[in-house]
Amino acid sequence: MSEQPVRFYQTGTFTVGNRLLPEDERSVQANMRRTNSLNSGHRACQGCGEALGARYAIDAAMEATNRQLIAVNATGCLEVFSTPYPESSWQIPWIHSLFGNAAAVATGVAAAMRVKGRSDVRVVAQGGDGGTTDIGFGCLSGMFERNDDVLYICYDNEAYMNTGVQRSSATPPAARTATTMPLGGSAGNRFGQGKNMPVLAMAHDIPYVATATVADLHDLEAKVKRAMEFRGARYIHILVPCPLGWGHGSAETVRMARLAKETGLFPVFEAEHGVVTRVSKIRRKLPVEEYLKPQQRFAHLFHDPPRRDVLDLLQQMADRNILRYGLADETEAAA
């Protein structure tokens, strides 16, 4: 009989932890002594993807930097729900300035550390998609262009959620927001607009760019760790579903992120110096409807009769991603 690996364990690859794995092979989140950078008592909505993604990412960054980390936060949900004066949920050195200047402040913090000779202290800047792709884009592009030694993390929930779900340049086509109400013949956000921030970051030829979701913790942590192995400007774009703005159940947050990846609508990959070096393959390919249907922001596509034309366009977007990044599993492609 052929030998089979004993190390395999029920859920080894996909769950947070595993009682049979050595501690150093488990995720940071599985550790009883994880930092809990973003602690309990914060005011994020039930099932908040951003709160989850931020703890995942910053805990991993703390682990990767031997807990020598300063975080700079843009205005947005993450700042508002975590730090209403005078309370804070952050258990790390953390600074907030304005909506649009997190990258510039982080540049300053990194410069200060350089001047003080503290090369061991690393700097993370973080913000939502609004603070990253719209308001803070100029500062961020400058940070990339100067290759400042900062890891910038964008928690993308695809709209301005904190202020009442307004459209951002990261809002996907056809998604309904407070500012893309059904008007005339077509409801939801328009096709052909918006920014693909990870690709824009890659265009700056910075050392490291990656995308991740809150549905694959091991992948997310590996990317934060990898990012910390570089000096210079780095960018990680994390998809964080928003039960409030997307209109799905609070228990569905992780599932939505998983479906975004499995349908191909959100490609998960990493790139070094402007070149894609690895992609996360789709494990169980699904049509985009599986992802869209549970979300109220796409409900207008499923009225009677359903908007087959719009759904087809969204499926084409997914298919383009699959082709462009090579997301299909080879064995499935061969079948």
Binding site: M1, E3, Q4, P5, V6, F8, Y9, Q10, T11, G12, T13, F14, T15, V16, G17, N18, R19, L20, R26, S27, Q29, A30, M32, N36, L38, N39, S40, G41, H42, R43, A44, Q46, G47, C48, G49, A51, L52, R55, S82, Y85, P86, E87, S88, S89, L217, P243, G249, S250, A251, E252, T253, V254, R255, R258
Partner: protein, 542 residues
């Protein structure tokens, strides 16, 4: 005078002051659900529990958890029809977990390493007579001995094992395995008296001063069918054929053997005949393959070995070297109807495998004891109508398998133990079933089922070597790790990880988790991302 920087009037504080648990309308709760394998096991094994130990390579712990319910895992790992695998949720993902083969590995490992049962801690001073040394009687004796009672088993046969020895062929159950597992039960201090047929149960109880009796004599009387037969026709019954294989005098079946019946016993005889050198071994069965009571994998093995089956046929006459069969059709009610078309088959012998009846003669005149359609009537506590006399296995109503026997023995032992102590035994309340829809199958890695090695077909047709081989350790552990742990936390840390509010407390290895309801907002992420369905949402009381 405030000694603080400009515009700062409050000290910084932690958000821990903000008890977000007050937002909650539903609360998550950890629960154990009943895995379908456990639910389906006639012996009441806690399959998920012993697989949990085996996954970690703690084979002795696994074996001890297993033998709490079943003292003969090496036997059962070979002969059980594993309803657990039929029920296994993993079948809906890829293929059922190879529970039976893993059980066999544990049983063989125990024999190899000489693991023994813990000696009874106490002695009750009570004496129990077990009549019949088959699986049911042995199981009861084991459980009673562990509870501290003095147990004597009496069996009419020359060797212990009952149908495990006299019904199941060697190529499915090697006798050294059977002997070793029986001996391990006797090592608990159980007295075994062979060649001691009990003819009067009340007398035996009185003479031996037994406080209770457990009847488990099985069903050894072959059922007959009326078949007009010439004087020279060689007609045998399956029970006698299989028994004679054990007692040394090999049955003379001839070159062309016809076996009449569609149960597992019919297959056992047909496969035995093939091994004894029969050129043709033909099963005649009145209905179709779908309707056959025998298990399909056994039929498949028989067909591989060259056994032929004549479906939809009944034997109407038997002669010296041939038989006449009549073709049947299935009626709308699923019963076979004669067609009036006849056919002749050459046959040197005909073996009837039409089921067995219970020899109830030892129960004549027992006050209160009732029988119904040839079997003994017992209550839910396995007690007959006569106080202190219990019964189980093939001699009571139910499916007649070794596993059911093991289960009956255990159940009866619990009740006998309670009865001897002047109490009644209550079945512990069952958890709700962990059905597939309670799981989040995303988290389980793809892992095809391991296959046990099979003896090559030439040796299967000419020798009585064991047909199905066992797993090596690597394979057994791999297979154990395919278990989804349905409904029972296996400490994957998912709830601890996916909580956006850090409201799950990890208690450490083996201790599982607890919710911090001060901060849990009731989002339900832990519930939906728990792979095995060990968390549920319940509405918060208002």
């Amino acid at each position: 005078m405030i000694r603080k920087p400009f515009a700062i009037t409050l000290d910084p504080g932690s958000s821990l002051a903000n008890h977000t648990g007050s937002w909650r309308t539903v609360r998550p709760e950890y629960i154990d659900r009943l895995p379908p394998c456990n639910h389906a096991c006639p012996a009441g094994e806690n399959v998920q529990r012993w697989l949990f130990h085996a996954e970690a390579g703690n084979y002795e712990d696994a074996w001890r958890a297993l033998t709490d319910d079943n003292p003969m895992p090496a036997v059962m790992g070979r002969v059980c029809y594993h309803p657990c695998e039929t029920a296994c949720n993993r079948a809906q993902l890829d293929e059922a977990v190879g529970i039976n083969a893993t059980e066999r590995f544990l049983g063989d490992e125990a024999l190899r390493r000489g693991w023994k049962f813990a000696a009874p801690a106490t002695s009750s001073g009570k004496r129990v007579l077990v009549i019949g040394a088959g699986p049911t009687g042995l199981s009861a004796a084991y459980q009673l001995a562990r509870a501290g009672h003095a147990v004597t088993i009496r069996d009419a046969g020359p060797l212990a094992g009952g149908m495990m020895r006299f019904g199941i062929p060697v190529y499915r159950l090697p006798r050294d395995v059977l002997d070793a597992e029986i001996q391990r039960i006797l090592d608990l201090g159980v007295v075994l008296e062979l060649n001691s047929k009990v003819t009067d149960v009340l007398e035996a109880r009185r003479d031996g001063a037994f406080d209770a009796v457990f009847l488990a004599v099985g069903a050894h009387l072959a059922k007959r069918a009326y078949i007009p037969a010439g004087s020279a026709a060689r007609m045998l019954d399956a029970v006698a054929v299989l028994r004679s294989m054990e007692t040394g005098e090999q049955p003379l079946l001839g070159r062309r053997v016809v076996v009449y019946g569609g149960g597992n016993t019919a297959l056992d005889v047909a496969r035995t005949a093939k091994r004894l050198g029969a050129e043709e071994s033909i099963i005649v069965y009145r209905r179709t393959r779908e309707k056959m009571p025998a298990h399909d994998f056994e039929l498949e093995e028989a067909l591989q070995e060259g056994v032929l089956v004549k479906w939809l046929s009944t034997i109407t006459q038997a002669g010296e070297s041939s038989i006449t069969v009549e073709k049947m059709v299935l009626g709308d009610d699923g019963k076979a109807q004669p067609t009036g078309e006849f056919e002749t088959l050459e046959a040197d012998s005909v073996v009837l495998a039409l089921g067995q009846d219970v020899d109830l003669s030892l129960l004549d005149g027992v006050p209160g004891l009732e029988t119904d359609e040839g079997v003994v009537k017992v209550g839910a506590d396995m007690m007959t109508g006569h106080a202190g006399i219990f019964a189980g296995g093939d001699m009571v109503s139910g499916e007649r398998t070794v596993t059911v026997g093991i289960g009956h023995g255990k159940l009866a032992a619990h009740n006998i133990d309670a009865w001897l102590r002047g109490k009644t035994w209550e079945h512990p309340a069952s958890h709700e079933l962990a059905t597939f829809d309670k799981l989040n199958p995303w988290y389980y890695a793809d892992a095809p089922r391991s296959q046990a090695p099979i003896l090559d077909s030439v040796r299967r047709q000419s020798t009585f070597d064991e047909v199905v081989g066992g797993f090596d350790e690597t394979t057994a552990q791999f297979e154990a790790r395919r278990c989804l742990s349905c409904g029972n936390c296996f400490e994957c840390d998912n709830c601890y990880g996916v909580c956006p509010d850090n409201a799950v407390i990890k208690l450490g290895p083996g201790e599982r988790y607890a919710f911090n309801y001060d901060y849990c907002k009731g989002c339900g992420l832990c519930v939906s991302e728990c792979p095995c369905g060990a968390i549920r949402s319940v509405p918060e009381e208002t």
